[in-house]
Symmetry: C2
Subunit: 706 residues, 2 copies
C-alpha cells in the first residue's frame, strides 16, 4: 500500500542522510529488512563490539607464547614470561573469528551479490578468515607445538579493513609507489655504482699494513654493499672512512661524494616526490568523500520527492517540509547540526523544498563546529563585580604564569644544588616548604577564577581544565604527604613509609609542577599555532598511524617467528664474535641484540631506535644475509617511506594553516574543530547535478520512479 | 655642445642597458668620466682580478702557520707542515688589501656621496679593511708571533660583499630568522622541560647499583642537557636509554616522547617553516631583479629619447632606431641576444620606437636560451646514406648502452671472483682481455657516430662529449699499458714498471668504465628529470654554497685559533680519559679528535661527518663547556638551518619542474637553460610604467629633461 511505501521511503531517506553524514557509500540494499539490518550493523553498539574484537585479537600477541612482556628487557635478569596453557588464546581467537564471520556475512549481504564480486576488500576479508581458520585447526591438531603461525601475520588485516580512512590512505600510498620506486631504483643504481668504485678503490694491496679499509669494510661485494648502505643511513658515518682517511685525506672525496649525492640529494628528492605526489592524492580522496556526502543527500531528496503522489509540475521535483522534519527526527546526527537544520527549516517558512534548497540545508554538516563559551555569572554586589573584573582579567592569568615560572626556577635551583649530594645527605625541607607555598597559590588561583568565571565557563576552556585537574592532583598528593610524613621542618627526611617514599612523593609533585608549566602555551601566539598544527596533525594522522601499526605488527610477528629461539640467556657472558667469522653468530647476535636493542619486545621501542641499532649491528657484519633483507626492508618502509609521508603531511598541514592565519584573524572566543576535509574546503569542487543523477541511476538496488 | 651631449646620452644608454642585463642598480654617477670608470670597473678583466684576489686571500689559510695541509690526517705519522717565513703571507695579504682599497674607493666614488651613507655594505667593507690593516700592522710589529689574528675571521666578508646574489640570499635568510628563532626557542623550551623531567626521573637512588642512568647521562644539569641535546641529533640514540631500559621497559616512554616531539615534530616543523617562509622571499628577490632590469631599459629609453632636439609631439617620447642601433653596437652582451634584437629591429621597419616597443625589444633577454644542434652531413653515395641512417639511429645508442652494461657486469663478476685472492695469486689476463675488447668497441662506436653525425653535431650533444672524452682517455691508458707491459696473456702480472703498476692501470681503466656507464642517464626519462633537477639546483645553489663557505671558513678559523696547540702528537699512546673526570682533557680530546674526526684539516671533511663525530664526543663529555657552545652553534647553523634551507630549495625546484613537465612536453632537440629567474617567470609581476618613472625621477645623478 501507499502507507507501507511511504514508510519505506522515509526509512531510505533516513539511512541515506546517515550515510552522507558518515561519508559512507549508498550502494547497499534498500528494502525494509535490509535497512533495519543496515542501521543495526552501523549502530554504535555493533561497531563498538567489532572494534573491541579487533583490539583483543591484536592484543593476543602480548600474552602468546614467544612473547617477552616483562619489566626488564635484559635477558640476564628477567623472569620467564607467563605462558598461557594451550587452548586459552586459541579459544579467544575462535570467538573473534566468529564475530568476524558474522561481520563479513552481514556486509556481503548488505552490498548485494553483484557488488560483492567487485569489492576486493570483502573478498580478501573472506580469504583471510578462511586461511586463519585453517591455520587455527592445524594449530589445535598439533596441540600448539607448531612453529609457523601464518594467522598471526594476517591479524592486522582485520584492523585495516575496518577503517575506510585507512583504506583510502593505503590507496593514496599505493598510487605514489611508482614514483617512489623510481627514486629507490635510482638509489640502488647509485649504491651499486659506488660499490664497484669502492671495491676498485679500496682493493687489497700487497702491503698488508695498508689495507685496513679493505679488511674491515670492503672485503667482498656483500660487505661493500652493506657498508655503503649503512653509510646511507648515517649509522656508521665517521667510522667507515677513518682507515682510508688516515692513509690519505683525498679518500674522503669518495665518501663526501657518496654522502652528498645519496643523503643530501636523493633522500631529500624522495621527500619532494612524496610531498608532491601525496598532496594530489589526499585532495582527491577528500574530493571523493565530498561526492559521497552530496550523493547521499541527493538520494534522500529523490526518495522523499517520490513520497508525494501528486507532483503537479513534472519538470522539477519537490520535497515536503513535513516529511523532511519527520526524517530529521529519526536521523542519528550531531545534536548541534540537527538543531541548526531544524531552525533554518522554520525560518524558511515554505512547505516545498527544491533539490538546491535541500542540499543547501545540509551544508550545515560541512561547517566548522563553533563553540561558544557560556557567560560569566552576574553578581549583584559592587565588591563581587570588582573581584570578578580583577580575577577574570587576562593579567591575572599572566601572574599565574609568572608564579609557575618562579616555581620551575626554584625546582631547577634545588636540583642543581642537590646534584652531587648523597641521598642520605639530602634535606627535603626547603623544596617541601616552597612547593607547599606554591601549591597553595595554585589552589587560590583556581578558586578565584572559579569565582570570577563560574564553574561552567571555567570548565569550557581546555587550559583551565588542564590547570584545575593538575592543581587538584597536586593538592591531594601534598595532603597525603603531610598525612603520612608530617609537615616539613629542617632535616625532614624520614624513612620509607607507606606506598611511596617521601623522596618519591616530592619528585612526583615536582614532575607534575613541570608538566603544569605547559599552561603557558596558549599565551604565546607562535607556540599556540605550532601546538594547534601538531594537534591537527595528530587527528589527520590516525589513518597513517593505523597503517604503521599494521606494518609494524606484521614485521614484529614475522621477526618473532624468524628469530624465535635465537635468544638464549647465557648468564653474564657476552661473547663478541670475531668480525671476520662468516658463520651466522646467532647467539652472539641476539644476546647483544637483546641488551642493546630489545627488539623482540613487541611495541617496546620506537622504530627509529631499533633501526639505528639494527643498522649499526648490520655494519658490524654480525647478521647473516637473509636477516639483512628483513632489516633493510623494515628500514625502507618505516624510516624512509613513513617518515617522508609524515613530513609531507606536516608540510601540507602547516602551510595551509599558515596561509589561513594570514588571511583572517581568528576570533578570540571561538574555537574551530578542523578535519582534513575542512582543510581543503577552499580547493574542493562541488559535484554537478548531472554527475550526481548519473551515479544515482547506477545504484544497484534503488529504482528511481522517473 | 649638442654633439658632446649626444655622445654622453649614447654612453649613458649603453651603460644602462648593460646594467639591465646584469641586474645591476642604475643608481651611479652618469657623467662621461664616471661612465668610463664604471665600464672599466665592471669590465671582465677588472672583475676577474678582483675574484682572483679574493681567492688568494681565502686560500692563504692553507699555508699559514697553524695549517695542517698534509697527506695523512693521523698525527702519529704525518710530517710537520711547511711553515712559511714571517712576512711572506703578510706581503701577499698587503697586496690583496691594496686591491680591495682600490675597489672600495672606486665603488664609493661611483655611487656618490649621498648613496654612500645609505649603503651599509660599503660602510662594512671599509670598516673591515680598516680593522684588517690595523691587525696586519700589529701582526708585523710582533714579528708574526701573536696568537689572535682577527683579520683571518673577517676574510670571508670580502667574498660575501662581492656577490650580489649572495647578499640577496643573505637578506632572505635574515628575514626568515625570526620564524626560525621561534622554533629554536620552542626547541629550547622542549629541551629544558624534558631535562628537568629527566633529572627528577633518573635521580640518584640509595641503591648504588640501580642508578647507572644517573651516573652516565643525568648526573647534573649540564650533563642532562647535553645528553638530551645529543639525543636530538640522534647521535647517541640507543645508548642513552639502555641503562634505564634494561631496568624497566616503561622508561623508554620518556625517550620515545622526547624523540617524537623533538625530532619528528619540531625538527620537521622547522623544515616546513623554512620552506614556507623562504619560498616567499626567494620570489620577492627575483621580483626585485626583474624590476632592476626593466628600470635599466627604461632609463636607456629616456636618455635616448632626449637625444633628438625636435620632439614634435610632447605627449609621448620616441627613440630613433638609428641611435638604438648605434648603442647596441657598443653594448657588451650575449651575441645571440644582440643578433635577435638587431633582427627584430630590421623586421619592424619603423624609424621611431615608443617606450612599450622599446621594452618589448629587450624581452629577448628574459627568454630561454634555445640551442639548435647543427645538421648532419649530407652524403652523396647510397651506401653512406644507409650507414648514416643505421648509426645515427637511437637503437645504435641503445646497443652501446647494452654493451656498457655487459662490461660493467663482467667487471663485477671478476671483482667477486677475485675478492678473496691474494694479490700474488691474482691473474689480470681475463680482465685485461675483455677490457681490451670492450674499449675497441667503444672506439668503433665513437668513429661510426662521428661518421653518421659529423664532428660538429656529435660535439653539440653533452652526452657524446662525455662519451668521447672517456673513450679517448681509456684508449690512451690501454695503449700505455700495452706499451709498458705488453699484450695480455695468461699469467699476465708483471712487476712494477714506470709510473703505475699494471694492477693500478687496470683498476683505473675499470673505474673509468664504471664512470662511463653514466651515459645511460639521458635515456631514462625519470632519471633525466632527476638529474636536470639536480643540475638546476646546483646552479641555483651557488649563492647558498657561498654563504656556507663563508660560515665554514669563519668557524674553521675560529676553531683553529681557539684550539691551537691543543693537538700534540703523543706517539702511539691513546689516552682515553675517565668519563667522569670533569677537568678539560684537551690532549685526550684532540688526539682522539684528530684520529677520529680530523677536524682541523680545513675543508678536509664534509660537515655532517664532523658534526656527528663532534656530537658523539660531546656525548662522551670529553669537551669542556665553552667548547660545547662552539660546537652546538656549528651544529645549529650547518646541520639544522643549512640542511633545511637546502631541502626547501630542492622542494621548490622539484615541484616547479614537475608541474612544468606535466604542462608541456619538452621538445627533443632543444635544451633550455634555466635559472632561478626563469623558474618563477609565470608568477612574476611586470612593474608598471608609473613605478618605473617614479624610481627614475628619484635617481640621484640623472636629471631627466621633462
Amino acid at each position: 500500500g501507499a502507507g507501507a511505501d511511504n514508510d519505506l521511503y522515509i526509512n531510505q531517506a533516513i539511512v541515506f542522510i546517515e550515510d552522507a553524514i558518515q561519508y559512507r557509500s549508498i550502494n547497499h540494499r534498500v528494502d525494509s529488512k535490509s535497512l533495519w539490518l543496515y542501521r543495526w550493523y552501523y549502530s554504535r553498539t555493533c561497531q563498538w563490539i567489532l572494534s573491541l574484537t579487533i583490539t583483543i585479537i591484536l592484543a593476543l600477541a602480548f600474552i602468546e607464547k614467544p612473547s617477552s612482556l616483562t619489566v626488564t628487557s635484559d635477558v640476564r635478569y628477567r623472569l620467564p614470561a607467563w605462558n598461557p596453557p594451550c587452548g586459552l588464546t586459541e579459544s579467544i581467537e575462535l570467538l573473534c573469528f566468529l564475530v568476524f564471520m558474522l561481520d563479513v556475512s552481514v556486509k556481503s549481504y548488505l552490498v548485494g551479490w553483484e557488488e560483492f564480486w567487485k569489492n576486493k576488500w570483502l573478498m580478501a576479508y573472506i580469504l583471510t578468515l578462511i586461511v586463519s581458520l585453517t591455520d587455527w585447526i592445524v594449530s589445535l591438531s598439533f596441540l600448539c607445538t607448531e612453529d609457523v603461525r601464518i594467522r598471526r601475520i594476517l591479524r592486522p588485516f582485520f584492523l585495516l579493513q575496518n577503517s575506510s580512512m585507512m583504506k583510502k590512505t593505503l590507496k593514496s600510498i599505493n598510487s605514489t609507489l611508482p614514483e617512489m620506486a623510481s627514486v629507490v631504483l635510482l638509489l640502488a643504481v647509485h649504491l651499486s655504482l659506488f660499490t664497484m668504485f669502492a671495491m676498485l678503490l679500496f682493493a687489497r694491496t700487497k702491503d698488508g699494513q695498508q689495507d685496513k679499509e679493505w679488511m674491515v669494510y670492503f672485503r667482498n661485494l656483500p660487505d661493500s654493499l652493506t657498508s655503503l648502505l649503512v653509510l646511507l643511513t648515517t649509522a656508521n658515518n665517521p667510522d667507515v672512512m677513518i682507515p682510508a682517511y688516515s692513509k690519505n685525506r683525498a679518500y674522503s672525496i669518495f665518501f663526501i661524494l657518496f654522502t652528498v649525492l645519496g643523503n643530501l640529494f636523493l633522500m631529500n628528492l624522495l621527500t619532494a616526490i612524496i610531498y608532491n605526489q601525496f598532496r594530489g592524492y589526499l585532495l582527491k580522496s577528500v574530493q571523493s568523500s565530498l561526492f559521497r556526502r552530496r550523493l547521499g543527500i541527493r538520494a534522500a531528496f529523490e526518495v522523499l520527492s517520490s513520497l508525494k503522489e501528486a507532483p503537479a509540475n513534472a519538470q522539477q521535483s519537490y520535497v515536503n517540509v513535513g516529511a523532511l522534519q519527520q526524517v530529521l527526527q529519526k536521523v542519528e546526527m550531531d545534536f548541534r547540526c540537527k538543531q541548526a537544520i531544524m531552525r533554518s527549516l522554520e525560518v524558511c517558512s515554505c512547505d516545498q523544498l527544491s533539490a538546491a534548497q535541500f542540499q543547501k540545508l545540509f551544508e550545515e554538516l560541512d561547517k566548522d563546529a563553533i563553540r561558544q563559551h557560556p557567560p560569566s555569572p552576574d553578581y549583584q554586589s559592587r565588591f563581587m563585580q570588582k573581584m570578578q573584573f580583577a580575577f577574570g582579567h587576562p593579567y591575572f592569568g599572566y601572574l599565574g604564569n609568572v608564579v609557575a615560572l618562579a616555581n620551575i626556577v626554584s625546582i631547577c635551583v634545588v636540583l642543581v644544588m642537590d646534584a652531587d649530594k648523597q641521598p642520605s645527605e639530602r634535606d627535603d625541607f626547603f623544596l617541601g616548604a616552597i612547593n607547599c607555598f606554591f601549591i597553595l597559590y595554585y589552589l587560590l588561583e583556581m578558586l578565584l577564577k572559579l569565582l570570577a568565571m563560574g564553574l561552567k565557563r571555567y570548565l569550557s576552556y581546555p587550559s583551565n581544565r588542564f590547570d584545575g585537574l593538575l592543581t587538584v592532583i597536586l593538592l591531594v598528593l601534598e595532603i597525603a604527604t603531610f598525612a603520612v610524613y608530617g609537615f616539613p621542618h629542617p632535616g625532614w627526611r624520614p624513612e620509607f613509609i607507606g606506598l611511596l617514599s617521601l623522596w618519591d612523593m616530592v619528585r612526583l609533585v615536582n614532575m607534575l609542577i613541570v608538566f603544569r608549566f605547559l599552561r603557558i602555551i596558549p599565551n604565546m601566539k607562535f607556540m599556540a599555532l605550532v601546538v594547534t598544527t601538531l594537534l591537527d596533525l595528530v587527528k589527520n594522522l590516525r589513518a597513517f598511524a593505523g597503517i604503521l601499526v599494521v606494518v609494524f605488527y606484521a614485521f614484529a610477528i614475522t621477526g618473532i617467528m624468524l628469530f624465535e629461539g635465537a635468544v638464549v640467556p647465557m648468564g653474564n657472558i657476552r661473547y663478541i664474535g670475531n668480525k671476520l667469522n662468516t658463520s651466522c653468530l646467532f647467539f652472539t647476535l641476539f644476546l647483544s641484540f637483546k641488551e642493546k636493542c630489545g627488539f623482540m619486545g613487541l611495541f617496546g621501542y620506537f622504530q627509529a631506535e631499533v633501526i639505528y641499532c639494527l643498522l649499526y649491528l648490520l655494519s658490524l657484519n654480525l647478521i647473516c644475509r637473509w636477516a639483512k633483507i628483513y632489516f633493510v626492508a623494515w628500514w625502507l618502509i618505516s624510516s624512509v617511506i613513513w617518515v617522508n609521508l609524515f613530513v609531507a603531511l606536516l608540510l601540507e598541514n602547516f602551510i595551509h594553516k599558515w596561509d589561513r592565519r594570514c588571511h583572517r584573524e581568528p576570533l578570540s572566543d571561538i574555537e574551530y574543530q578542523r578535519t582534513v576535509e575542512l582543510m581543503f574546503r577552499d580547493v574542493l569542487e562541488e559535484p554537478t547535478e548531472e554527475e550526481l543523477m548519473e551515479k544515482l541511476h547506477q545504484h544497484p538496488h534503488l529504482q528511481l520512479c522517473r
